[in-house]
Symmetry: C2
Subunit: 356 residues, 2 copies
């Protein structure tokens, strides 16, 4: 049954999630914002970070671990381009919205805005916030620390997080440039897929639970993932933990809490939001003209198969979004059941699920 | 003969390089700065970017392609945290020094400083500039675009650069945190090493000159390198090219010039320099205490072999520096001959080369 899935219309899913968030104690506006974030994420095809996370969010909201009505405020008065905010244990989406909004305001005044947020929770896809900058005509970066879940070869246990980072820029095409990556060699899902197919995995993907080299996807999934490019991804991850966790005054590395393993504890994650206004360097017309030339040059890359076009980060997500707006969002049967049960408990209906 | 090498004392090499730069038309101060940059790079063990590059730098200085006395100036008046400077075709080291100096000044006033430089040349190891920020007690980032030399699987030709990026932060240990990476899967030198050993290479390291998959290091070296983590490194590279080349108003991607293939043309590279003052978020004492706790946690990572310690980026370079200050800097015999010939031509001596 676990492979079965059904398709649900985005607007139906969004209303359902919004209602659940509201039942979890959030304001109508905040609930709608969170639901919008999650549905967008699924529309882009990033199913690891969309509705799949709803059960744990809801569980934590209902238990009060996540503060449904956080008082997100600056920890220091700042009229300059930098700020530090306290997330007050709120939903990561709400802290993220506040962080990038402030970074954008600062970039409007100063050309650049950098905001750190501490005392937050899982904030979904980092691309959400980098894209907010693009909506304001700016270049955006967002990243976050997470609990240690990767380590170098030779580590017995994970020593740092796969700290996701997103970068986005207006392209003046149908879609913006959006890169959203984590710092593990591959996603855990790739190991599950290899296991299902009975394939071996390269030994630079994962190690066993005792840190031993393995080409067995099952042993690797039971162990932990290695960093992308080994010392490259490891170093990037450490730097991100330092500039989010250390610099924000929040917890770092092993002092963070997994929302799954420690469902009763706040995650204590710290995020970074950076916005840069291109108009500090170029006129809007110059930027638009130059970035279009740039995109055309990337698209014009000479390929082995001339029928294949080099895509730009963000393009696949844009195409997926068009498809899924038509087809609906695929949801595993198990997840539908789990959410429907929450719906029954909280008196919220999930109508209109389309059978595949 | 090509594997033969001799050791030279750092201070001797630095004086020799400084004299050569001066004969190339640079001021005594600028010449000494460039020589210092190159010797430091060799001391850290980054031999791909130290004295190895001297012949091409000198050739370009002597021909006038590199402007020995550049007038590096802001392209726009800026009292805020952001600036754009014109490198006036100067040595990359000199443009880099100016760029990070300005970023640090701005960070002192605003908490953050971001400077873009265009119209520059090869600036050596990106770590040089990130480390300048650390010298000022700050966190530093530097990156640059370079000519397309990597591409995605499926590309027939390289489509973007391996754009190096460095990040540094004070650790309040013997050494600072310094990560300096390029965005290819591995360095070309690793292919040469595999070829010498008669080993095959993983198919995600490089492709043939026609973009075809290969596990042959010779064919891979004759072809081009693949990005680290494939779409991850590729996307990072494109983003760096966009925020340096597009945003600075300089050339980007295929409009850049290789200093080797186009020795008679300026490289036209653009760099980014970012400095962040930790004291905008924490007191100096808080930062020092927290970052030391952080470093201790990384060093305390549980390892498969308890005798092995997890190193922090920058630590290997620090240790190498201590070793090489004692042993001298290894230089290939061929390079010594090439530089000695320049020395004879320009009436500069290279004394004190130690035979291995």
């Amino acid at each position: 049954m676990t492979d079965d899935q059904r398709y649900i219309q985005p607007e139906v899913l969004e209303r359902f999630l919004g209602n659940l968030f509201e039942r979890g104690g959030m304001s109508t506006t905040d609930a709608a914002y969170c639901a919008d974030c999650m549905v967008k994420t699924n529309l882009w095809g990033v199913d690891s970070h969309g509705v799949l996370r709803m059960p744990i969010y809801l569980k934590r909201l209902l238990s009060g671990v996540i503060n449904a009505k956080p008082d997100i405020k600056p920890l220091k008065d700042s009229t300059g381009p930098i700020a530090l905010i306290d997330g007050d244990s709120g939903m990561g989406y709400i802290v993220g919205r506040a962080g990038m909004k402030l970074a954008i305001e600062k970039a409007k005044t100063h050309g650049i805005g950098m905001v750190l947020a501490r005392n937050s929770n899982h904030y979904g896809a980092a691309a959400l916030y980098a894209r907010e900058a693009v909506e304001a005509g700016m270049i955006g970066i967002s990243t976050t620390n997470v609990i240690p879940n990767i380590g170098m070869k030779g580590s017995k246990r994970p020593s740092t997080g796969n700290n996701p980072i997103a970068m986005a820029a207006p392209l003046c095409e149908d879609f913006p440039f959006v890169l959203d990556i984590s710092l593990s060699a591959v996603a855990g899902g790739k190991l599950l897929l290899a296991a299902k197919k009975g394939e071996k995995i390269p030994t630079d993907w994962a190690v066993t639970s005792d840190g031993k080299e393995t080409d067995d996807p099952v042993a690797g999934f039971a162990g932990f993932l290695l960093p992308v490019g080994m010392h490259k991804g490891f170093g990037l991850s450490l730097f991100i933990d330092l500039i989010t966790g250390v610099l924000s005054g929040g917890p770092f590395l092993h002092d963070l809490k997994s929302m799954y393993k420690h469902a009763e504890d706040p995650s204590l994650t710290s995020h970074l939001f950076l916005a840069i206004d291109p108009e500090i360097f170029l006129t809007r017309e110059e930027y638009e003209q130059r970035v279009q030339q740039w995109a055309a040059m990337v698209h014009g890359s000479e390929m082995v198969d001339p029928a294949v076009k080099q895509v730009i980060p963000g393009e696949i997500e844009f195409n997926r979004e068009q498809e899924r707006k038509a087809s609906g969002i695929p949801m595993p049967e198990d997840l539908i059941k789990e959410l429907a049960a929450y719906g029954t408990e909280l008196d919220v209906q999930l109508p209109g699920v389309l059978v595949q």
